[in-house]
């Protein structure tokens, strides 16, 4: 059985700059794959290459076994795409725009479209130029889901949406998976990916650095350990694999990567009052991967 998406050495260079290093990835039918990476990592480049909007410098991409360069139209019949932002004709209404997009797609589920319009509280009678960014994004979302395509490719689909609409979007995505549709979800919002995805791929500077389920990825990150003592906490920073040690009063927090026994022994020797250890969240996972890099806190949300 053909994978929903399969890339073979898919590469995109701009001059000598490698926007996407040879990428080999398979998205299985019916799964939601999260495609994570910081801005500029090459997520949009990957998706535009898969869609054939840009020509890969090398390699190829297949949608249900159809090469997206040589069989573009057939491949596109099986998929729908939600871009992060797009330009629509300012003087058409939202409804007219959806009508036109639906006509190009050929087959749409009209009843579902009406449901989606209601669900996203979208007013289709207004002209596109009067819509906010979020409302314009709703056109993209509705237009994609209403096709009931076998594969949904999404590039930061919730940009501009408020939290309630984000929730509606998640529901639609899960519903789509329940219907057997496949989703390729590119995002830099961890929470969204954590909530939706079966598997996660992490892209950094054009290279795929990780691919796996969330539980499979946790090993990458340190375990967080928190202990409180009667007296001054023992010293643990000399122990192999320990990092980010912080002492506040009688409380010690640190992270451990690798074997945990030496750390536990040291803590027990210090007579702990309480001990807490937890799995890293996806955020912490990311921090440990991108630890050295600056994180821009100016982003909205």
């Amino acid at each position: 059985m053909d994978a929903a998406i399969k890339t073979e050495g898919l590469t995109k260079r701009y001059g000598s700059f490698v926007a996407l290093a040879p990428l080999n990835i398979e998205v299985q039918k019916g799964e939601i794959l999260g495609y994570l990476g910081p801005n500029g990592a090459g997520k949009t480049t990957t998706i535009r290459s898969i869609l054939g909007l840009i020509k890969p410098s090398a390699g190829r991409a297949m949608i249900f076994g159809l090469d997206t360069q040589s069989n573009k139209v057939e491949a596109h019949q099986r998929l729908a795409y939600i871009p992060g932002e797009s330009t629509f004709w300012p003087n058409l209404t939202g409804g007219e725009t959806l009508y036109l997009l639906g006509k190009i797609n050929g087959k749409i589920d009209k009843k579902y479209m009406t449901e989606l319009i209601k669900k996203f509280q979208f007013d289709p009678t207004k002209k596109v130029r009067t819509y906010s960014k979020g409302n314009r994004q709703k056109i993209n979302i509705i237009a994609a889901f209403m096709t009931r395509a076998d594969l949904l490719i999404m590039d930061e689909p919730t940009s501009g949406l408020d939290p309630i609409m984000e929730q509606a979007f998640k529901e639609c995505a899960l519903e789509a998976r329940a219907n057997g549709q496949t989703i390729f979800l590119s995002s830099h919002v961890l929470e969204e990916v954590e909530a939706l995805c079966d598997r996660i791929a992490i892209l950094r500077s054009g290279k795929l650095v990780e691919l796996g389920t969330l539980p499979q990825m946790r090993h990458l990150s340190a375990l967080s350990v928190e202990a409180t003592f009667e007296t001054k906490p023992p010293r643990v920073d000399h122990i192999k694999g320990v990092s980010n040690v912080r002492v506040i009063g009688h409380q010690l927090t640190c992270q451990i990567r690798g074997p945990i026994e030496p750390l536990l022994a040291a803590i027990i020797a210090g007579h702990p009052k309480s001990l807490l250890s937890r799995e890293p969240s996806l955020e912490e996972l990311f921090l440990s991967l991108y630890g050295g890099e600056k994180i821009n806190k100016d982003q909205p949300q």
Partner: protein
């Protein structure tokens, strides 16, 4: 739980430099490019025209004779303005360039201003400018500063050309007169930049803002035309284009007419800035229904949608072609008397080649030459719109769906081809209506053939444009307009000077028989069509393989 943004990249340093002037710098960059191109084309035209005049009429007597033969001819004056003292270089320059360049500049300015003030907003970029900690009014002032830099560049380029004309043999005007003349040449651009800016605040989408400002231009142009071709000269006082004529920059300069011009510009700019602060983004002052009952006619296919989204533009062009052809047709009789007089022949030598044909046919040949020029500009404009649909992301909406690139492109090109054929035939019918109203008596068949004769060269421009679109998309407009401008220049050049025939052959117009003055040469037309087709096919094949590209 809050989402953690992971963009490791820093905000681009360029934006940090000064967010308050982002809009101005962005717009200046765009405007400077087009004003430089326009300035260079106009300058070359002036230089060639002036030097050929000096060469063809070296003596006082020859110039005197020219003046006598042209003086007081209504047909020519309607087109170029009243001819004062054309026995002098300065008089000749004024007559040939003042109205023509003021009008050309005005049209350029309309396009640029509506693009800046409405097009950027339609494309969602204005929102970004405003995000840079600035108010709508400040952004508008910024944009004006950007536009002003373009205007200044246009002035500098034109002034350089005028000053060099002044240095030619016995041109006989001073540098200060030349500078003042250059100022009046760009005055039209300044006026209609302001008109375009106000229209952009009033109207909610660019096409309508452009339509309104073009209508205002048309109205003022007609007022000037009537004033110059009838006894109602006082009407000049009521048209901003007339005020420019009133400046009389090269003889008895009357700089006080700069006051109404300056006042007009300042008042309109102030109005535009004021209006910018009084409306919401994506709204116009003129209330337009924000909601509409859905009309799905012409939305069932991408091609039909293009027709629906561009129908006003297409109709506007066809109307303009018809109006111009009709006007020229009407003028045929009176203008023919001049073309016929021997003294003008050196100036219109290509026309004179067909001296055996009737003078009227010669003038009509000249007419179709200009009409073709207009239709070619329409083609370049349509190519530009096709390219900007890609650059602004509209094309993505189609191509991410099951629609092949070749089908999309061939649909667009087919529409332009149909537009060209219709325009060429309309121009024939309109020219016929014009000349028939004067009982000139040229048959409609002759004119239809002349119109059809223009289809092939125009489609060659289309082929060049599609070639560019496939290979260097960012230069589509530039190359299409460039091919037209180059051909025009070379042809104009050939009317005054002896130039190398290889050079002459690079002009598309040079390949085309000047029908109906001479018989159309269908085999040449076939060659032009084939060259256009080959270029177009190469372009289409390349387009099918290349990346979609922003600006």
């Amino acid at each position: 739980m809050s989402a953690l943004p992971l963009n490791a990249a820093e905000p681009p340093a360029k934006l940090l430099r000064s967010p308050k002037t982002t809009a101005g710098r962005f717009i200046a960059k765009r405007t400077l490019r087009s004003s430089l191109i326009l300035g260079v084309i106009l300058s070359l035209y002036m230089l060639i025209k002036a030097s050929s005049y000096i060469k063809a009429y070296p003596s006082e007597i020859a110039r005197q004779k020219l003046a006598e033969s042209l003086g007081g001819n209504v047909g020519i004056e309607a087109l170029l303005g009243v001819a004062h003292r054309i026995d002098t270089v300065s008089g000749y320059l004024t007559w040939n360039f003042l109205c023509l360049i003021a009008a050309t500049g005005a049209i350029w300015a309309l396009v640029v201003a509506t693009k800046t003030f409405r097009g950027e907003e339609d494309a969602g970029r204005w929102e970004l400018f405003l995000a840079g900690q600035t108010t709508p009014r400040r952004a508008a002032i910024n944009a004006f500063a950007g536009l002003a830099s373009g205007l200044l560049l246009l002035y500098i380029v034109i002034a350089l050309a005028v000053l060099s004309i002044g240095r030619l043999n016995n041109a006989g005007f001073s540098d200060s007169a030349g500078l003042f003349f250059s100022l009046s040449l760009v005055a039209g651009a300044a006026e209609f930049m302001a008109v375009g800016a106000v229209a952009s605040q009033l109207m909610p989408v660019r096409s309508r803002a452009a339509g309104v400002s073009a209508a205002v231009f048309g109205l003022f142009y007609m007022v000037r035309l009537i004033a110059d071709s009838t006894t109602a000269h006082w009407l000049l006082n009521f048209s901003p284009l007339g005020w420019i004529e009133r400046l009389q920059p090269m003889y008895n300069a009357r700089p006080m007419w700069l006051l109404p011009i300056g006042g007009f510009v300042i008042v309109l700019i102030a109005t535009a800035v004021w209006l910018a602060g009084r409306r919401d983004l994506y709204e116009g002052i003129v209330a337009d229904k924000d909601t509409a009952t859905p009309k799905t006619s012409l939305l069932h296919s991408p091609l039909a949608a293009v027709l629906r989204l561009n129908c006003t533009v297409i109709a506007g062009w066809l109307a303009a072609v018809a109006a111009i052809a009709f006007l020229y047709g009407e003028l045929a009789k009176s203008a023919a008397q001049i073309v016929d007089s021997a003294s003008v022949k050196p100036l219109l030598s290509r026309l004179a080649q067909s001296a055996h044909t009737q003078a009227v046919l010669t003038f009509l040949g000249f007419t179709f030459f200009f009409v073709t020029l207009v239709i070619m500009v329409y083609v370049a404009n349509a190519l530009g719109r096709m390219r900007s649909d890609e650059a602004n992301g509209y094309l993505d909406n189609f191509l991410v769906r099951p629609l092949s690139r070749l089908r999309w492109l061939s649909g667009r090109v087919l529409l332009i081809v149909l537009g060209v054929i219709v325009a060429c035939l309309i121009s024939a019918v309109a020219a016929w209506a014009g000349e028939a109203s004067q009982h000139v008596g040229v048959s409609i068949r002759t004119l239809l053939l002349a119109g059809a004769n223009n289809i092939a060269p125009t489609l060659l421009v289309l082929g060049i444009g599609v070639f560019a679109y496939g290979i260097i998309p960012r230069l589509t407009s530039l190359l299409a307009y460039g091919a037209i401008g180059w051909s025009f220049l070379v042809t104009m050049l050939s009317s005054g000077l002896n130039i190398n025939h290889w050079l002459l052959d690079t002009s598309i117009f040079h390949q085309v028989a000047l029908a109906p003055a001479v018989n159309a040469n269908w085999s040449t037309d076939a060659v032009l069509l084939i060259v256009g087709l080959v270029l177009g096919v190469i372009g289409a094949v390349r387009f099918n393989q290349r990346d979609l590209q922003g600006d």
